[in-house]
Symmetry: C2
Subunit: 331 residues, 2 copies
DNA sequence: CTGAAAGCGCTAACAG
DNA sequence: CTGTTAGCGCTTTCAG
């Protein structure tokens, strides 16, 4: 049904190879011939079948993004950065939501491999077993891991400077004069969050640390526990904005005013943090840029592989930034 | 590098056609032969090259989702529903963010067509010109439009019952006893929003309608205008949650308490509406289900096309629902 | 039930 | 500079 390279060739009175060369800007085509071919291709509304091209070149100009959930605003922002960057380079991005299930994640990986994507971005927990990791590495396609600071050295890694972010938050609260400070975070042993805790504790060695669920609900629950057990706390550093929102909600419920009675600082700087009341002071992660960086690396590596080279995995840590809004005050 | 169907065939001592048939569950293969082939394929860790298969079958098991911006929580939710549904059927989903630019949108459409996706979901404004529309229709792949109530009859359409939603909101505010009610919405002549307005006006014929930008900032701006020009208004129906958040923010700035001094109802029911203070009463759109429905239609139509049939475009309107939270009160 | 052969639409040597 | 030839890896008639 659609017009093929053969149709163009016939119409132009040349062979398909000449058409291919003309359209792909390869050397060795008479300028006049090329122009003629290009004109005819345009007139026929010809568009090369990328599947066919992919089969012969071995490259699909497609990347995969395997994350836990696109509804998480953090990932939405990363995805947008990744897609924009991919688009600029003529690549497409396929989206996979694997939640936190290793099995789902691995199914997606295999499916993407079978579709011969040129690269893979993944986040999500404890990826696969040793064999699975080897399987991926053996596939020979570039992989960048998102936010997995201490992972194997076989893949590239992009993450924000979580240690620095935690330190920034802790130091800021101390500078405001707070002395009884709590840190509400997710599960222990969670790469990112552990780094944030470490950074925080380096600035507030006597900080109270409470673990829970890294969600709005989790934030509510941890805040309840905190208010019950440590009513003298004057400031909290939430390991994510979602947790911070829970803290603010719970503070409201207890009649505590933020920031009058309680200072709260978050982490991530998701869009809503500027919209809620009070506007949330938080540590900004360069989410969009992380997506861009991941794709940038992938494309570079894919080109190297196409050129016969073996790319070196790259580990890039992006800077964070304190965003002062209205949820903290000096005491 | 990767193991091909030929490797399996050689190892099994049969030809590639037998391997193909065995693996695809086609009729006419000796049970014993099939089992042997399957076992060997598994042992070799064989996974068919989907690009090659796509070239011959003409189907890629891939769908495209062209939206304005995945960072918009509305689209994130739709995307998640779409991706889940696609995944269940063995399809993948490629994500494109075209913002509101017709040119970008058309580039994505063409790119997806060239990659031979099996179907297309699009939202975004005033798609293309007549020729562009014809070009898409001529491509012969199924298309479903998101939230474009009054579009051409050549494509399928999924949208929420916006008229009903507007009516629900208006009737609710009246039932609470409000008489001076304002409706803050986006640009005029915007399919969805116009429907919401119409529904609202059918319940509140004397409602004040203000047009602006359909964003948080736009909500702030419209609220300022409203408070200046109509200080006696006791309730507002915002055409989207984003606008409602702006109204609440601006109310705070003016010292108006929500809902004590001003009742606010939104539209969409994005996740944050349950997180902000006060929790927002709003009209729920079945976003996830809209994504699912879109993919469901696409896949059904793709199968029909593969079977030689010509699918009939389908128009599906999904029901909405009033979510009562704490931003409205009776007067 | 299985094999041989053709071909999807394109690129890429290799000749001429 | 252009044409001929050979596949990429798979499915699918068509024979046997």
């Amino acid at each position: 049904m659609p017009v093929t390279i053969r149709d163009v060739a016939r119409e132009a009175g040349v062979t398909v190879s000449t058409v291919s060369r003309s359209l792909n800007g390869a050397y060795g085509v008479n300028q006049t011939t090329r122009e003629k071919v290009v004109a005819i291709a345009r007139r026929l509304n010809y568009s090369p079948n990328r599947v066919a091209r992919g089969l012969v070149t071995g490259q699909t100009q497609t990347l995969a993004l395997i994350i836990s959930d696109i509804r998480n605003p953090f990932f939405a922002e990363v995805a947008r950065g990744a897609q924009d960057c991919a688009n600029r380079a003529g690549f497409d991005l396929v989206l996979c939501n694997a939640d936190l299930e290793p099995a789902a994640q691995m199914r997606y990986v295999r499916s993407m491999l079978a579709k011969r994507v040129d690269g893979l971005i993944m986040n999500s927990v404890m990826l696969f077993s040793r064999e699975e990791r080897d399987e991926l590495a053996a596939s020979g396609i570039p992989v960048v891991l998102l936010n997995r600071p201490r992972q194997t050295k076989a893949f590239s890694i992009i993450c924000a400077d979580n240690v620095q972010g935690g330190k920034l938050a802790g130091a800021y609260l101390r500078k405001l004069g707070h002395r009884k400070i709590a840190h509400l975070t997710g599960p222990k042993q969670h790469g990112n969050l552990t780094d944030r805790s470490d950074g925080f504790l380096s600035a507030c060695a006597d900080g109270i640390v409470i673990h829970g669920e890294q969600t709005f609900r989790g934030g509510c629950a941890m805040a309840r526990q905190l208010f019950d057990e440590h009513p003298d706390v004057t400031a909290v550093f939430a390991a994510s904005d979602a947790i911070a929102f829970g803290v603010i909600r719970e503070a409201w419920n207890r009649g505590l005013r933020v920031p009058a009675d309680l200072s709260v600082i978050g982490f991530d700087n998701v869009e809503v943090s500027g919209i809620i009341h009070p506007p949330l002071t938080t540590v900004h992660q360069p989410k969009y840029e992380m997506g861009e960086a991941a794709v940038e690396i992938l494309i570079k590596h894919a080109r190297q592989i196409a050129g016969g080279a073996t790319p070196m995995p790259e580990h890039r840590i992006l800077g964070v930034q304190l965003i002062e809004r209205e949820s903290c005050r000096a005491v």
